[in-house]
């Protein structure tokens, strides 16, 4: 009993430590006048208003930018979940020629800083493929997230090979094995990778900003960054405006997580091989 209480206390302290900055962000975003003192951490009823949010709403077209963000992010998530899973599975459980090279390439891609590639990548996509000012141009460099492929591979590795051998003996094709045997067992990993793949393009500013100048194609992160760099200076509470923007950007990601996290439950892996 004592141990459970101790653990809960530690968790609570930890949770508070993690939540405090976010709480402070929300309080700050609701402040009409900026209050950077220690006392400002507590919400003052007289200083609270949704003013910062309404200013954002007035400055950027929330509907259009949200749509663009969704298209961009959905494209990336789709590409990663479909092709990345296939590649991850192949890298983990199948033996074929070129597997090592592909694995090395995947690792290499993750290690390379984006800033090194950005201008040649831009030239490639815009001049080489003519994709300026398009959703495809935005999506392409992120289409299959290499970190996600790595994650998929690691989790497919955790599945015992006996399960697959059993299925192969039963005459199932590789694709069938993937779909019916492997995927259900790594569902939490799939969700983790999907959530992670979602965050990248959702928060991504530099690439969409480079690729498209058209207002009607800019995703939310870019619109908010533009708003912060210009209008915010003349807003009543500039820092509050930044915080409000960040809250707006973070809210869908948090909501998604809340929705998905219930799938992180045990899959009773052991029972698959018995008998």
């Amino acid at each position: 009993m004592a141990r459970t209480w101790r653990r809960t206390t530690v968790l609570v302290i930890g949770a508070l430590a993690f939540l405090f900055p976010f709480y402070y962000m929300i309080v700050g975003s609701l402040q009409q006048r900026s209050d950077t003192s220690v006392g400002g951490a507590l919400p003052h009823p007289g200083n609270l208003s949704l003013h910062n949010y309404s200013q954002i709403n007035a400055a950027i077209s929330l509907g259009q930018t949200l749509l663009n963000s969704i298209v961009f992010t959905a494209g990336v998530v789709l590409g990663t979940v479909v092709f990345g899973v296939l590649a991850g599975y192949a890298l983990a459980q199948l033996h074929y020629r070129g597997r090592g090279t592909l694995f090395a390439a995947m690792l290499l891609l993750q290690v390379i800083p984006f800033q090194l590639l950005i201008i040649p990548l831009y030239v490639q996509i815009v001049r080489g493929y003519g994709l300026a000012d398009s959703y495809l141009g935005m999506i392409l460099p992120f289409a299959i997230n290499s970190t996600a492929v790595f994650v998929f591979r690691q989790y497919f590795l955790q599945v015992p090979a006996d399960l697959f051998d059993a299925a192969r003996i039963d005459g199932a094709s590789e694709l069938r094995i993937l779909r019916s045997v492997a995927l259900p067992l790594v569902r939490p990993a799939l969700l983790t990778a999907t959530l992670m793949t979602f965050i990248g393009p959702w928060n991504e500013f530099l690439w969409p900003f480079l690729v498209t100048k058209q207002h009607d194609k800019q995703p939310l992160a870019v619109a908010l960054a533009n708003y912060i760099s210009t209008t915010a200076a003349s807003a009543t509470n500039p820092y509050g405006a930044i915080l409000a923007g960040a809250v707006v950007l973070a809210a869908p990601a948090v909501a998604l997580f809340i929705a998905f996290q219930r799938h992180f439950v045990s899959t009773d892996l052991g029972s698959g091989v018995k008998g």
Partner: protein
């Protein structure tokens, strides 16, 4: 194993071949393009007031020139815009005109082959000279031609918070800020009286352009209008430069200026009693701070209105990806005409780099006296030197400044000498 090596070798060779062949496509040749006419594309800053000005200007042109329509897009001002412009030069899809070209970036863009020489147009140099006067000379490239049109400036001055000054018991009509001694004493009084946390709080960031708001305005004033580098030699390793560095070092050492990152605007928040900014800030601080303005201090004080300062100019450049340069040049002249410059002044409060500014728009300045001080300053602005490796030069300066003046790890005199030696090597 051997086959894997073979595969790797083939891949590397193919990649190298692709790269070595380079990209395809060419820019229009300057001769024919200089007279070509047709629709053009422009970019301007996404600052709300400039956008408003830009839109009305484009509409006015488009209604008069239906076959040479102008389409405009916004790009944010700031350091990211340089990356965007550089990338679009490389990709060949830069617009005809960018109303947001930083003079410090011009040498790089020129080296990339991205800028059109305005001397290609028969009235290029003469138009610029007539509009801007003597100040225009600073904007010529080392080869003597204009690759940018000096457009607008935001002369940097000292804004002070009248409420904070009153609280500290300092006069708000004639605050003692003109000499270093006076400025330091005022700063001490402001902080020790508790009226503000810091006297002044320029961003201590190590980005290459930060010296433009702490060192450079005061250096311009103290040295009588010298640029950082003149005739391929650093000028700041001098009495004037050392005086400015010593002054700022005092401010930092006595904690009168902040050394940490600050989110938000320290002047607007009341954290700092003063700020060194240009007239664009008037709109930003309206209703938030009751401000007054003074010239940047000099060591002896007393030069007041005649003292030079940093221009913080933003210019317009024409880019080589432009096909219809004839239209672009005419549009450029239209957008910097007396009428449009007047509208720019009215709508944004920024100073067009036009000679006899006060006289030309006397009505405006009578109606808006708070801008008058800035208008007078435009005749005395100093620009960043137009030299190759200009960004690298400013970065070297900032690194030395950061180390010695802000963090006190080295004597400023020594740091400035080292920086000067390094910079001499860069700009030769």
């Amino acid at each position: 194993m051997r086959s894997r090596i073979q595969l790797a070798a083939v891949t590397i060779l193919t990649l190298t071949a692709t790269v070595a062949c380079g990209g395809s496509g060419t820019s229009p040749s300057s001769g024919e393009a200089a007279t070509a006419r047709g629709p053009i594309n422009i970019w301007y800053s996404n600052n709300a007031q400039e956008v408003a000005w830009g839109k009305q200007m484009v509409e006015a042109w488009n209604s008069a020139h239906p076959t040479e329509s102008v389409s405009a897009q916004e790009i944010p001002a700031g350091q990211t815009s340089e990356a965007v412009i550089s990338a679009s030069i490389t990709a060949g899809n830069a617009p005809c005109l960018i109303y947001n070209t930083s003079p410090a970036a011009v040498p790089n863009f020129q080296a990339q082959g991205g800028l059109v020489s305005l001397g290609d147009f028969p009235d290029g140099a003469s138009y610029i000279g007539t509009r801007t006067g003597g100040t225009a000379e600073q904007y010529k490239s080392p080869d003597g031609t204009f690759y940018q049109l000096p457009w607008k400036s935001n002369p940097v001055m000292i804004f002070y918070n009248k409420a904070v000054f009153t609280k500290a018991g300092i006069s708000t009509t004639d605050p003692p800020l003109s000499s270093y001694e006076d400025f330091l004493a005022t700063a001490k009084k402001l902080v020790s009286s508790g009226a503000a946390k810091y006297a002044i709080y320029p961003s201590p960031s190590s980005q290459f352009f930060q010296p433009w708001f702490d060192f450079y305005p005061m250096y311009a004033a103290e040295s009588g209008g010298k640029q950082l580098v003149e005739n391929k030699k650093a000028t700041f390793d001098s009495d004037a430069g050392k005086a400015v560095a010593g002054f700022w070092q005092q401010l930092y050492a006595q904690n009168l200026a902040g050394k940490e990152a600050y989110t938000g605007d320290s002047f607007a928040d009341g954290t700092a009693a003063m700020a060194s900014v240009g007239p664009w800030a008037i709109a930003a601080y309206k209703g938030k701070v009751d401000w007054g303005v003074a010239s940047v201090p000099t060591r002896a004080g007393g030069s007041g209105d005649q003292a030079a300062t940093f221009s913080d100019a933003k210019n317009v450049a024409m880019y080589t990806a432009c096909k219809n340069r004839g239209t672009a040049w005419d549009f450029l002249k239209f957008s910097t005409s007396a009428e449009q410059d007047g509208k720019l002044l009215e709508m944004t409060g920024q100073m067009p780099l036009r000679q006899n500014l006060e006289q030309q728009y006397a009505a405006y300045f009578t109606a808006n006296p708070q801008y008058k001080t800035f208008a007078a300053k435009t005749a005395h602005v100093v620009e960043v030197p137009n030299v190759p490796a200009s960004v690298e030069m400013w970065q070297a300066f900032r690194d030395a400044w950061s180390k010695s003046v802000i963090f006190g790890k080295e004597a400023p005199d020594k740091a400035l000498s080292e920086a000067a030696a390094k910079i001499n090597g860069l700009v030769k």
